[in-house]
Symmetry: C2
Amino acid sequence: MGGDYAPGVVVEGTATALCDFPDCEIVLVGHEAKLRFYIEKYGLTGHPRLRVVHAPEVVEMRELSSTSLRTKKHSSITECARLLKSGEVDGMVTPGHTGATVAATKVLVRTLPGVDRPALAASMPAERGRFIMVDAGANTDCSPLHLLQFALMGEVYARYLYRLSEPRIGLLSVGGEDVKGNALTKQVFPLMNEKFSNFVGNVEADTIFEGIADVLVADGYTGNVFLKGCEGLARSTIYWLKEVLLKNPWRKTTASMLGNAFRELKSKGSAEDIGGAPLLGINGICIIGHGSSTSRAVRNAIRVCAECIEFDLNGRILQRLKETGCLASDLTEEFRKRPQK
Amino acid sequence: MGGDYAPGVVVEGTATALCDFPDCEIVLVGHEAKLRFYIEKYGLTGHPRLRVVHAPEVVEMRELSSTSLRTKKHSSITECARLLKSGEVDGMVTPGHTGATVAATKVLVRTLPGVDRPALAASMPAERGRFIMVDAGANTDCSPLHLLQFALMGEVYARYLYRLSEPRIGLLSVGGEDVKGNALTKQVFPLMNEKFSNFVGNVEADTIFEGIADVLVADGYTGNVFLKGCEGLARSTIYWLKEVLLKNPWRKTTASMLGNAFRELKSKGSAEDIGGAPLLGINGICIIGHGSSTSRAVRNAIRVCAECIEFDLNGRILQRLKETGCLASDLTEEFRKRPQK
């Protein structure tokens, strides 16, 4: 029920997913009557691999994530989290309220044993290839332990998403040199250096686009600012591009001949092929789509969700946590609190 | 001597500035022999409003700002700061090492009385108009007091730079709602709300481009990530644009007819007209240019420096600090340290 075009695009995306992924069973969670309308529209009535679970409430985008769990006990997000908790489903997908999803899964599904906080892992385009920004906004205030675990979870996710055997991990900072950063990054730097052989050190926010790391680690406040800043600038660039190209009739006509090129440019920033960002570290797979998700994005978020389950993303995360000594209990107290300097 | 094309572009920009601003006297600080070569080249030998102060050393871009002051006692940046401190000059301009400039001015020139930390104020393009990002990277770890003073100094600078009587101040956050943010922004929010009638509240990193604030306040780590992330994405966008437009000979030919339009697009992101970002809060005017400054950027940084002096930027900052009760001594201890939550 979440996102700008729900539940229409969600049911439409589900229809394509049921067709494309014959091993998937899908449970649609939301207002039953509203869902039935679209289920009929997209010819899914009586589909053997489709089930509906009624959830009468919706968390609106303007609502607070901190209270949504209490005030909307039967929202589609909360019901989804309950299904995930009970094991009735292996994963959940939502283009709805990010904060409410983080809150519901944290409280109901809980984190993987030894993981302190879940983190949102957004895939972003570099000049060639892509990189994963983690945490893209689930935790505004972080400890060194959190950043360390974000790095590890991002690394495992990059192995799946980009098919890399040794994804390079970078720490988002204000300079490329080892000593640059804020109190938090300075404290976690030697720890990351010790734990990960594929740690490339501090990475500046501009050089990341040159493709010098596959996983970029930051606290969720900074990661979110970085992600949203790029989204905003991309939209403004399209606005400016239109402005200069439509300035006079001659330019307009010439530019119209390059329509395909501009569509290709626009697609560089599109996350439709990935469909959503996983909330890593939750004891179950949870993919959060963009609020403006199309049916194609929903279909691909379902694909990513199914593939993460098949890949045993969480099992691999747990294994790596143990191997590298990155479980919460492995670290001393000083790394488990925010820097107090 | 700093910047990618120094000292050539600096002397060239000085030549234009001497011509365009007949009230300005300019002191070139750097390696005398090297400067003399360009002074002759640009026909400035014996110019009545030009003087050279010899500084044999240069802080290289890869050097640490924390040690540059000790290891390079006679760098052009340090000598500049000494001239500013002694009152021999009213302002300084450098396209050199930002960290070294911050360190040298902080130690030698000091901050304005009652100002705790200087902040870098970068002007960035919005869809229409521009906004000031403060702090763009001078302080990686901040207290609520710092953010409050950054806001006030940014406001006074916006009055000069954008000719606005009541610049709107926004707090960079992870959501537009009042309660969103990290521990630092949550603590400073009510304070900013109380002190500034023109406070527009929390601003997300994407909506800022829609022009909803004239001054955007953040700690220097996040501000720097935001600024550099945008710079990097802008460069990548140009890369992608070239990629799609040069894909085949037909597109290449058509695109070449739109050369002016693409040049106009590129100029949106250019900071050449402003030339540099002031280091606000220093007891003297200090403008820091981009490392890749052209002679035009140098000329305009000199213009901005002269105009800030004429505008009495620092006098106005001090007055506003007193008026609003934003002097360091006006605030209680809890706002003068970093949030400990």
